[in-house]
């Protein structure tokens, strides 16, 4: 792929580009083939009466989702959102401005469903649904990572993610799906996780990891699979089972559970926290995937559910799981359902269960990337804002050198990694690189100011995205870390013998 020459050099992470009309018009991800569409109940290819079907689906969504109606009808085109999308900042394509992205669909909605659009289309910018419009939808609704940054800044809270999800849902229903997301959802239905890792392979992988921990520490730490009667069911993104740096995070969870002395297990049936049903805007798909978690929890007879580090999965887990697959009255009500792994770890830290040697992370000068879905669509404990505080508390407890990035690019204003929302696919690499440039510019700032070498995140997508993207900005591939990887580095297991070489910097 390109060497990054086309990435805009930004003086500031939020520097506003000149408009570059049509700059990204030709980019689109691979379209789903019938074998990706049909298992999800979508038509295999573009249906004959696609226009009627699309409008029917649009009316259906409007009747089922208040946000869709309100967001399409109340925008005043004030322009507050126009400079808030990382894809706009990185590409300059005006159709990547949130309001313009919404307008791609709003213009059609107005034409067929509003008085002004029916009778005065030119006046309000309404337009017919044509094949060109459809292609434009496919392209630009796959240049949105559903990160919700625009909705923070909109005076009416209009959330472009809702419009993107609706547009993708409409397209899937007339036969135009996205290959990446739909293929993955198919694997979850068939095998239980995004990677298509079957129970046997999963067990073997986790046994290897147990050996790794024992080799490293001399202590036997278990990573149990399908253990009936365990107290805790860990639901974590399958990337944690074999992608880097995700695995190191998983080792961190295992060590924390071990030291806390709790019994836990992963499930081979629900071996996936990620829920791409969110990305394609399908309530039904999201529900089917969520119900696997409920079924696994019942089957294994666990008392609690804990989610591993994953951004959108935590949104679905925190905000939607109770709706989609609840009620969870069969679990121990003394714990939140589900609980975030960082909530668990922070509590153990406060209890003093964990023996931490911070100096083991002294080779790292760290910053932290707030993942969009955690930041803008969830909490971690009961406190609003805990989604920002708890990760930082844990980081500061295990790492001496921590530096936050520009406040306008963190917390609820965090910039997306550029790979979320179903865009973490090689066919969108150009978009991923450009969309990451605002975030990477902020990272470069803290490198200049504080010598930052590494960045931590609590999202599987962010981690994968940055391990690809950071090298293009002059960082090592392993500059992106799991928060629990830092915990894993710093933790000294009970009975573990320590040689004096501080740290284990690879």
């Amino acid at each position: 792929m390109a060497d990054g020459d086309d990435i805009r050099k930004m003086a500031h992470p939020l520097e506003i580009p000149r408009l570059a009309c049509g700059a990204m018009a030709d980019l689109e991800p691979f379209r789903a083939k019938p074998e990706h569409q049909e298992p999800l109940g979508f038509p295999g290819e573009l249906v004959e009466n696609w226009k009627e079907k699309a409008l029917e689906k649009m009316a259906d969504i409007a009747s089922k989702n208040r946000a869709f109606q309100v967001y399409l009808e109340t925008c005043v085109k004030c322009g507050a959102c126009t400079d808030k999308c990382h894809y706009f900042l990185g590409t300059g394509d005006p159709k990547n401005m949130p309001v313009a992205r919404q307008d791609l669909l709003r213009s059609v909605y107005q034409r067929y469903f509003t008085f002004a659009g029916k009778y005065f289309p030119k006046l309000v910018g309404a337009r017919d649904l044509t094949e060109d419009v459809l292609n434009e939808w496919y392209s630009y609704y796959h240049q949105c990572s559903e990160c919700r940054r625009c909705s923070v800044f909109c005076p009416y809270g209009i959330d472009t993610a809702e419009i993107t999800m609706a547009a993708r849902d409409i397209m899937a229903h007339i036969g135009i799906g996205q290959k990446y997301s739909n293929e993955i959802i198919g694997k979850v239905h068939k095998i239980g996780n995004n990677l298509g890792l079957n129970p046997k392979a999963l067990r073997a992988t986790l046994e290897d990891l147990e050996e790794d921990i024992e080799d490293e520490t001399g202590i036997s730490v278990r990573i149990p699979v399908d253990e009936k009667g365990a107290d805790i069911l860990l639901i974590t993104p399958s990337a944690d089972f074999f992608a880097e740096p995700h695995i190191d995070g998983l080792l961190g969870y295992a060590k924390v559970f071990h030291e806390a002395g709790v019994s836990w297990t992963v499930s081979s049936y629900a071996s996936e926290a990620a829920n791409f049903g969110l990305f394609i805007g399908s309530y039904e798909q999201m529900r089917d995937i969520s119900i696997r978690i409920r079924d696994a929890a019942k089957d294994l007879g666990v008392k609690r559910i804990i989610f591993g580090e994953c951004g959108h999965a935590w949104r679905v887990g925190y905000s939607f799981l109770n709706t989609l697959a609840g009620p969870f009255d069969f679990l121990d009500q003394n714990y939140p359902v589900p609980q975030h792994i960082l909530d668990f770890t922070w509590q153990e830290m406060q209890k003093g269960t964990l023996n931490i040697d911070k100096s083991r992370n002294d080779h790292i000068r760290l910053t932290y990337h707030d993942s969009c879905n955690v930041a803008r669509a969830s909490r971690i404990t009961d406190e609003p804002g805990s989604q920002f505080e708890i990760p930082r508390n844990v980081i500061k407890a295990v790492c001496n050198n921590f530096f936050d990035m520009d406040r306008e690019t963190t917390h609820e204003s965090t910039l997306c990694c550029g790979g979320g929302g179903g865009l973490l696919t090689d066919d969108l690499m150009e978009l991923r690189r450009k969309g990451a440039s605002p975030r990477m510019t902020a990272v470069q700032q803290v490198t200049e100011d504080h010598g930052v070498t590494h960045m931590a995140a609590i999202c599987a997508i962010c981690k994968t995205q940055f391990s690809k993207i950071m090298p293009e900005f002059g960082y090592e591939m392993d500059s992106i870390l799991s928060v629990h990887q830092l915990v894993s580095n710093a933790i000294i297991l009970t009975g573990q013998e320590i040689d004096d070489e501080a740290g284990e910097g690879e």
């Binding site: 208040r66 800044f153 005076p155 809270g157 939607f320 609820e412």
Partner: protein, 240 residues
């Protein structure tokens, strides 16, 4: 004759606005929000949501975070508008309420704040490339309409004057379904005609942002999805 035409116009405009907005609100209220989607950090109690909404409505909190220029222009315009509207209550009440009398001097000059805000917002539609790109003809027309209403109002108040005694008698008459004589003053007729048009297009235009804000799930939902199960009626059917 003129008095009758304007009487019909105002009855019609009022009916369209009230019924139209009412229908839209009913439509929004009836559509379920299937999932909890408040933009976080979000309040965890109903009272917290009321405070969040109040900050949005009174201070335009999100817009303030977003863009100080748009904020200053639109906040000036909207707050000026409230003062002007309050001031106008004197044409519909007899005796005039005390607090309306109190607001009178502020309301008089608030017209300039409205005008300044509107012109600032309009200038951005020409001068800022991004906002020029997203502007439709209707966005310009809406600003033109508002500027004309404010301009004609200021003309009457500060330049040409108007027979406000007669206007008030006419308005009070309308409220009792009696048609008094409306002064045949061109600036006044323009002002009233434009106000009636604004009322008529209210329910079919982006002016619906005013009631719409209260139905925005990302702002009006309580952040308590783990504590309280949220389920839309259509989604509940999936469980049967």
């Amino acid at each position: 004759m003129l008095s009758i035409v304007y009487a019909i116009l105002f009855y019609l405009a009022t009916a369209i606005m009230v019924v139209g907005v009412g229908m839209k609100i009913r439509k929004y209220a009836r559509a379920p929000a299937p999932l909890k989607i408040p933009t976080t950090p979000a309040p965890t109690t109903q009272f917290g949501v009321i405070l969040r909404m109040a900050r949005e409505v009174v201070f335009f909190e999100s817009l303030f975070k977003s863009n100080k220029w748009i904020w200053i222009f639109s906040w000036t315009f909207h707050m000026g508008m409230w003062l002007v509207l309050i001031r106008h209550l004197r044409y519909f009440t007899e005796p005039v309420w005390g607090w309306v009398v109190f607001a009178q001097p502020f309301g008089t000059y608030a017209g300039f704040a409205m005008l300044g805000g509107l012109l600032g917002l309009w200038a951005r539609r020409f001068l800022v490339e991004r906002i020029r790109y997203i502007s439709n003809p209707s966005d310009h027309l809406m600003l033109a309409l508002l500027v004309a209403i404010v301009g004609s109002g200021l003309m009457m108040r500060f330049v040409v004057g108007a027979d406000i005694i007669m206007v008030k008698a006419y308005m009070l008459g309308l409220m009792r379904f009696q048609i008094e004589t409306l002064p045949a003053d061109p600036v006044l007729l323009l002002h009233l005609g434009l106000v009636a048009s604004l009322m008529i297009i209210f329910p079919i235009s982006k002016l619906m942002h005013a009631p719409g804000l209260f139905f925005s799930p990302s702002r009006n939902q309580i952040d308590n999805p783990r504590e309280k199960r949220h389920l839309a009626p259509w989604a509940a059917k999936l469980e049967e």
